[in-house]
């Protein structure tokens, strides 16, 4: 078979013999390792899956070789070659494949689904290209701090059809970020050929739509890959923005170990086999007289032995402890709680307390920054960022495109890079497009990759403003269901600022739910300390003492509970109100203690009832506080439907004091 020739001309021409050998060695390691893993998988010696990237070694080694060692790479399950070249060891890979405790994901994800952030590879997840917005966020952090780090966001051609990829590229283009988007077009997205994935002749043609430069290169020519990546990285590093590189290549095997890839016809396969990247590299190295065939044969023998030895070793390492399943779900906070030493106080309403908190947080720590729609010059739809753009400028109060998934994912990347991002959702209803990033990336990072993600997603929730079904949700139950994220919902100005400060200083993703009806509610105005202070996340508060029944509630419903309690008091029913303030982690103790005191429990929530926080609290009390109960637990919630617009419907939807009073009186 005639192998197509390659030659080095640009940046690659400057590389030393040793550097070239390292690159060759990493390509060869990938091929031999994946070949071995594939055989083990087919022989029943390996659980899970194998996603061989054999045939794409030049793309992977070339991407890594074109990057600076400090640059960050966000890729896919078919990027083991990049990880190897970035310094991830055979041992780390083998441990992860066997799900071992000391592997990069501690057995929490298998095979090539891992990253080693400290070595410059982001956590690999299955939904693709979900690491792209994360890479965008890292680039954003780099831009802010001037660290000179470039991010490379890589995926296959199939993943470029997603909104996530689009949002990532678009955001990077708009913000002129130091990032390179690489697409390894290996001809098939699983089994689907190019013409079922995109309408342009090439993936790279899309770059025009974002206003960024693009290249289409031979992904099986190691020199061409190195040169293209290097040039684009340097362009990005120098402040000239992102670019797109389409690496045209071919996957020798199927999508995964189980896939015989019968959808590939012989003609296509023959065409690509002549362009095998390792054979071409070997020929070039021989031709240049740098190495001999003996070098290659000896390396193969060495690597095969090392791979076998490493896999045998890894197989016998410790499994993770099944009795410790919930470990690492949250990062532990190591910084002390911020106590306020100032005596100065100012009367503020709820939104003023939030704005004041944001201002002081940003003033206190330059790593704190904000992202969101219309939050800059316009100062936000509800004016929560009033005065902040003028004070902190466009790099810390960032107006984003309408890309909830994109900028929420970017917050993950920025947080990983050492920033403390605060994302504003214009309405919390728009958390839906961001949920993938929140749950796939933010919630799992510490658990799966051991890296804390200190970020806050804040925004207005709740009904009552005649805003209809898409500007009114109470998303706490939706969010609380996902392990790995904290959820807070303050009900008054003091808690609003205190919880915001605590959220920003928490090493975990915190969903900070504001209630838009409270923003300017005059009767909850109160004295709020100037200067930073915290309300501890996970601690509720008894906001009214009583003896006959406990109302557990939060956010906008606290004032409804107060109103109900005042009415019930006239009738001799003494109500205790517990404002839980934090949904996750739930302060079970304060609830159980109050129920022990009153023996009766009413849970009041604005969120819809089915499978909700109220259900969870009810279940928890039934399990842990059963012997305190004197009546069935009652939930006061809206009906199980969407939030309607018509004033009569919306008013009937939101739990009222009348409904609470009625429910409680029926109990007695």
């Amino acid at each position: 078979m005639q192998i197509e020739k390659i030659t080095r001309q640009g940046y690659s021409a400057t590389l030393s013999k040793e550097v070239l050998w390292d690159i060759y060695k990493s390509m060869k390691t990938q091929r031999l390792l994946e070949d071995r893993l594939l055989k083990m998988y087919k022989g029943g010696q390996l659980s899970g899956a194998v996603y061989p990237g054999i045939g794409q070694e030049a793309c992977m080694a070339g991407i890594a070789a074109g990057m600076d060692s400090k640059d960050i790479f966000g890729g896919t399950h078919r990027d083991l070659g990049v990880q190897i070249k970035k310094g991830v060891t055979l041992k780390e890979i083998a441990l992860n494949f066997f799900g071992k405790n000391d592997g990069p994901s501690k057995g929490r994800d298998g095979n090539s689904h891992f990253g080693v952030v400290d070595k410059g590879t982001l956590m690999v997840v299955s939904p693709l290209p979900d690491s792209a917005p994360v890479a965008v966020g890292w680039a954003l952090a780099s831009q802010q701090s001037g660290s000179g780090v470039v991010a490379v966001a890589n995926c296959g051609e199939g993943a470029t059809a997603t909104g996530t990829w689009h949002e990532s590229v678009n955001m990077a283009a708009v913000l002129n970020l130091p990032i390179v988007f690489t697409v390894q077009n290996n001809q098939f997205a699983y089994s689907s050929p190019n013409d079922t994935e995109f309408g342009t002749p090439n993936v790279a043609d899309r770059a025009a739509g974002y206003g960024i430069p693009a290249k289409i290169i031979d992904g099986n020519d190691i020199y061409e890959v190195i040169d293209a990546i290097h040039d684009s990285c340097e362009q990005a590093r120098n402040g000239n923005g992102p670019s797109l590189i389409e690496l045209v290549t071919f996957r020798h095997y199927g999508h995964a170990g189980h896939d015989p890839a019968e959808y590939v016809n012989d003609e296509v396969r023959d065409f690509w086999m002549k362009r095998d990247p390792i054979a071409r590299f070997e020929n070039a190295l021989l031709e240049e007289g740098l190495f001999t065939t003996e070098h290659f044969v000896n390396l193969t023998d060495e690597l095969e032995a090392e791979i076998k030895e490493t896999l045998d070793w890894a197989k016998n390492q410790d499994d993770p402890d099944p009795n410790n399943e919930e470990a690492d779900i949250f990062a532990l906070r190591t910084t002390p709680k911020i106590e306020n030493s100032e005596d100065n106080k100012k009367t503020m309403n709820y939104i003023e307390a939030i704005t004041n908190g944001l201002d002081e947080l940003m003033e206190n720590d330059e790593n704190v920054f904000m992202m969101g729609e219309d939050i800059g010059v316009f100062e936000g739809a509800f004016k929560a960022t009033k005065g902040l753009f003028d004070k902190y400028g466009p790099f810390r109060v960032i107006d984003t495109s309408i890309s909830e998934g994109g900028f929420t994912g970017a917050a993950v990347g920025a947080a990983l890079a050492g920033k403390k991002p605060i994302v504003e959702l214009q309405f919390y209803d728009f958390v839906y497009p961001a949920l993938d990033q929140i749950t796939t990336e933010a919630a799992k990072y510490h658990w799966k990759a051991g890296k804390a993600v200190p970020m806050v997603v804040r925004g207005p929730t709740g009904a009552g403003t005649r805003s209809g079904p898409f500007h009114s949700i109470s998303p706490e139950s939706l969010l609380a269901h996902h392990p790995g994220i904290k959820v807070v919902a303050p009900s008054n100005p003091y808690d609003a600022k205190g919880l915001l400060v605590a959220a920003v200083n928490d090493p975990n993703p915190v969903m900070y739910l504001e209630h838009k009806k409270l923003y300017r509610k005059p009767d909850i105005k109160m004295d709020v300390p100037l200067g930073l202070y915290e309300v501890e996340i996970g601690k509720g508060k008894v906001v009214r003492e009583g003896s006959d029944i406990t109302i557990v509630t939060w956010s906008g419903m606290v004032s409804v509970a107060e109103q109900s309690a005042q009415e019930l008091e006239k009738e001799g029913i003494s109500v205790e109100i517990v404002d839980i303030r934090t949904i996750v982690p739930l302060d079970e103790e304060i609830i159980l203690k109050s129920v022990e005191k009153t023996s009766n429990l009413c849970i009041l929530q604005e969120d819809v009832p089915f499978s909700s926080v109220a259900s969870e609290i009810s279940s928890m009390v039934a399990e842990k506080g059963f012997w305190s109960l004197d009546n069935p637990i009652v939930k006061v919630t809206p009906p199980n439907t969407h939030i309607p617009f018509a004033p009569v419907l919306e008013d009937a939807f939101i739990p009222s004091a009348e409904k609470v009073i009625k429910a409680i009186k029926e109990l007695q």
Binding site: S599, L629, D630, N631
Partner: protein
């Protein structure tokens, strides 16, 4: 017009009754006030008079069946307007036959305690509190919807000290077919009386701080008098003159000296009540088939003879089962006459809400060292016996107990009772 006769509530705390015997059959004509059945409740066994005149159309419960207060017992076809039902009776009937389910106004239910029922729903906290505080839930009035007992009900019950109030004694269980001492391997239901005794005993033990103290009494003084009058007394009164009236009288005098022993002590309510009357309780053994305390009301107004008679009469009434509530309730101090069964020393359980109970022990001839006035000792044969007092250390302390006991002893040894018997 069809009329229903329901299970009457024969006492505030009665919740159910057992149908002992039907006195009428289907088809019988009954007149108002004619006895129609015999029932047994916690408190009494009694005949139930018909509240209506009419013909019996059906008997709704079987003999031996236990039903709740208010349950339908019998259907009569006849005149509903019979006028001679007393006001009180009609009031009672109204209460018990009122169908609770139909009472829709919550306020109404709350203001008048509905008949209690044993199968009402109990919430977890009520079950827990009842168990922890050993509360008999049948004693608790529920103010929740449908008469449900709420946490507040049980808490106020506990703090009011109601659980320590004496439950009046039961009548003798009449079901003779139940063996008194079943064979070792036999098992069976616990009789109503046995259950009540058991509950009261445990309740008392859990309420009071029981301490037993005893003194030895020289009965020679009493014995001399008793021997002298034994025969004539029996002829005159028809019953024997025992030691018990003497001890009772001495006790009554001692109670006057130490009124704290004739008191009730309610720690939960923070009340220590000193009783102006001495209602002397006498424990009466029902021929080894249970125990009741008969009450001699205002016992301090009786002479020795009167006391002897009253004790004899009350015992007989209790053993026959022909007594009423007054005969078995309201005692302020109790004597348990264990000596009649030849005891040496007994530690009885206090009859709540008393604060002490005296146990008389057997009187026997024993050798006693007697010191003569000149200081010389000699051994004499004397009638002696112990007197034991179990007392509630919550209400008073050991000195009072011994002063009280020694006061009784002193009276028994030195009083001149001869006038009492002439």
């Amino acid at each position: 017009m069809s009329q229903i006769v329901t299970m009457p509530q024969l006492g505030e705390t009665v919740t159910e009754g057992t149908i002992l015997r039907w006195l009428v059959q289907v088809g019988d004509e009954v007149k108002e006030d004619d006895p129609i059945l015999e029932i047994s409740t916690d408190k009494v066994d009694t005949e139930v008079p018909s509240p209506f005149t009419g013909q019996v159309t059906s008997l709704l419960v079987e003999e031996g069946e236990t039903v709740e207060v208010g349950a339908s017992l019998l259907e009569l076809d006849g005149d509903s307007s019979s006028s001679s039902v007393s006001d009180e009776a009609s009031k009672e009937l109204e209460t018990v036959s009122e169908p609770v389910e139909e009472v829709v106004e919550v306020e109404k239910v709350k203001s008048s305690p509905v008949p209690k029922s044993t199968n009402i729903k109990l919430s977890p906290v009520v079950r827990k509190l009842a168990s922890e505080n050993n509360v008999d839930l049948e004693q608790v009035t529920g103010t929740g919807s449908g008469g449900r007992i709420t946490r507040k009900d049980i808490e106020s019950f506990i703090t009011s000290g109601s659980k320590t109030v004496q439950k009046p004694k039961e009548v003798q269980e009449r079901q003779k077919d139940k063996a008194v001492q079943p064979a070792k391997t036999a098992s069976g239901e616990i009789s109503r009386l046995r259950r009540r005794i058991a509950e009261n005993m445990v309740m008392s033990k859990q309420t009071s701080a029981h301490v037993m103290t005893s003194v030895e009494v020289d009965y020679e003084n009493v014995e001399i008098l008793r021997s002298k009058h034994k025969k004539s007394f029996k002829e005159e009164n028809g019953f024997s003159l025992t030691y018990l009236p003497f001890i009772s009288l001495a006790t009554i005098y001692a109670l006057r000296e130490y009124p704290v022993v004739n008191s009730s002590f309610d720690l939960d309510k923070d009340i220590h009540s000193f009783h102006s009357n001495i209602n002397l309780g006498i424990a009466v053994d029902l021929n080894q088939d249970g125990l009741l305390v008969g009450t001699l009301r205002e016992a301090d107004s009786f002479s020795l003879k009167g006391l002897a008679r009253k004790i004899s009469d009350t015992s007989a009434k209790l053993r026959e089962g022909s007594y009423d509530l007054d005969d078995v309730s309201g005692s302020t101090f109790t004597i348990s006459n264990n000596g009649s069964f030849n005891s040496f020393l007994t530690s009885p359980i206090i009859n709540q809400p008393n604060v002490a109970i005296l146990s008389t022990e057997s009187v026997k001839k024993r050798p006693v060292v007697i010191e003569a006035q000149d200081g010389t000792d000699s051994i004499a044969i004397r009638h002696t016996g112990m007197l034991s007092l179990t007392w509630d250390h919550r209400a008073f302390d050991g000195s009072v107990a011994l002063l009280f006991l020694n006061s009784i002893r002193e009276k028994l040894e030195n009083s001149d009772w001869s006038q009492e018997l002439n």
